[in-house]
Amino acid sequence: MLRDITLGQYYQTESVVHKLDPRVKLGGTLLYIISLFLFENIWGYLVAGLFLALVVKLSKVPFRFMVRGMKTIVFLLLITVVFNLFLTPGEVLISFWKLKITKEGLWIAISMAIRLSMLIIGSSVMTLTTTPNNLTDGMEKMMSPLKVFKVPVHEVAMMMSIALRFIPILLEETDKIMKAQIARGADFESGNLLKRAKALVPLLVPLFISAFRRANDLAMAMEARCYRGGEGRTKMKPLVYKREDKLAYLVIAGYLVVKIAIGIVL
């Protein structure tokens, strides 16, 4: 049961967006999110929406996968909208009982909803088209200037990719321990929340012990294969910008120019 969980939400297909350098996608997503919050007018949102639609179309990922990511934040979105709708002072449009909907409130609520949904879809495009591994690589490369300030960039990236590799193994192990405990009469399903949380203790202890043992073994195996940190290490799959990546940067820059121009002019 636990084995079915896939990590991240990578959607396997061949597309232009999939093939882009992870740095382009990371940087592009960041710039896109900033652009969403730059100016507040309907034409700006339209441009941002069109750009997003274009990228989604190019990525060949079915739209329902993008929306799936929205599910998790529907609640947050709703709260934001409701608060903005009722609690913004200004010209009253409708009022009933103690609640007032103002013109300003309505506008802020709508624009917040648009911004947040585009933000989620925009970042979903990135996670759906980039493998976690690639993403880690991209982050490592992008953050590497921070090494000057003694930030352990390589180490953090290595930890992330090892964590990604071990999540399925530890899940499988959890499953095994759980079954072993159930076979000996443990009860994980009944009782109130507190009781269930307590029932998890005999599951977590062996899991932690085994995780430490694995970590120890892995460290030894890594050292046996000459691992000595990021210094002097070469890459099997180095990140190199190709023509498409440069083109993608141009497209993103073009979008930003249009978006800012509209923001200033209108």
């Binding site: 193994i169 694995r214 073994d217 890594m222 050292e223 046996a224 000459c226």
Partner: protein
Amino acid sequence: MGIIKADDVTFEYIRRDEEGNVEGITTAVDHVSLDIKKGQFIAILGHNGSGKSTLAKHMNAILYPTEGTLWVDGMDTKAEEHVWDIRQRAGMVFQNPDNQIIGQVVEEDVGFGPENMGIPTKEIWERVEESLRAVGMYEFRKHSPNKLSGGQKQRVSIAGVLAMHPQCIVLDEPTAMLDPNGRKEVIRAIRGLNDVEGITVILITHYMEEIIYADKVFVMDQGAIAMEGTPREIFSQVEKLKSLRLDVPQVTMLAYELKKKGMNLPDGILITKELIDALRI
């Protein structure tokens, strides 16, 4: 001097209590001397706790001898400046396949060693391809290691060591966690490396069937070498093996019992065919 030479190597684990006082000393390796020549297939045999894994870790400079010296390709493992050279020359494969695969894709894992050594990208790819072909895992290069069988994972681990172009591979019970089929696969791959690529193999195991192809066998007991010789020499001493708590392969056992009952059979029969031939005469 051979590729690996141990001279009177002793290793002691010091057990300490919570305050750090010495509680007791366990001698895991006890005055072991051996000399392994290039290109040999060596098997080290012993039951659990006989010190064979501890000895293996010395060959990769993970542990250093408390007393005595161990040389890998002429380099003293105690010398700090040689550690990485030693680890590249004497690769090591461990018991649990899950705990030694670092990459999330087979080819990335095989490339991990060369990456650490600072090999140029193009050459890494060549090495990865050649190593995966050598263990017969090339078709799986794009797979996730989590979806492979135990035997396949272990072959990937071997490829990962192979990609570092070692002169010698130390395998610490590589088949202990595998099913019989996986065990066969791995042993076949290891023999291939030794026969075809001429790499020195040091196989540590407690399965007797795996050592019949070895050039030389060392049997360890309580940290010391109790027996050494060719597989045939070792297997002809059934009584002694039993006293060391080791199982003899079925065929050898059968031949031994038949001989005891008065049949005229040669000593140290290793494979079924041999016994059949001997019985026909």
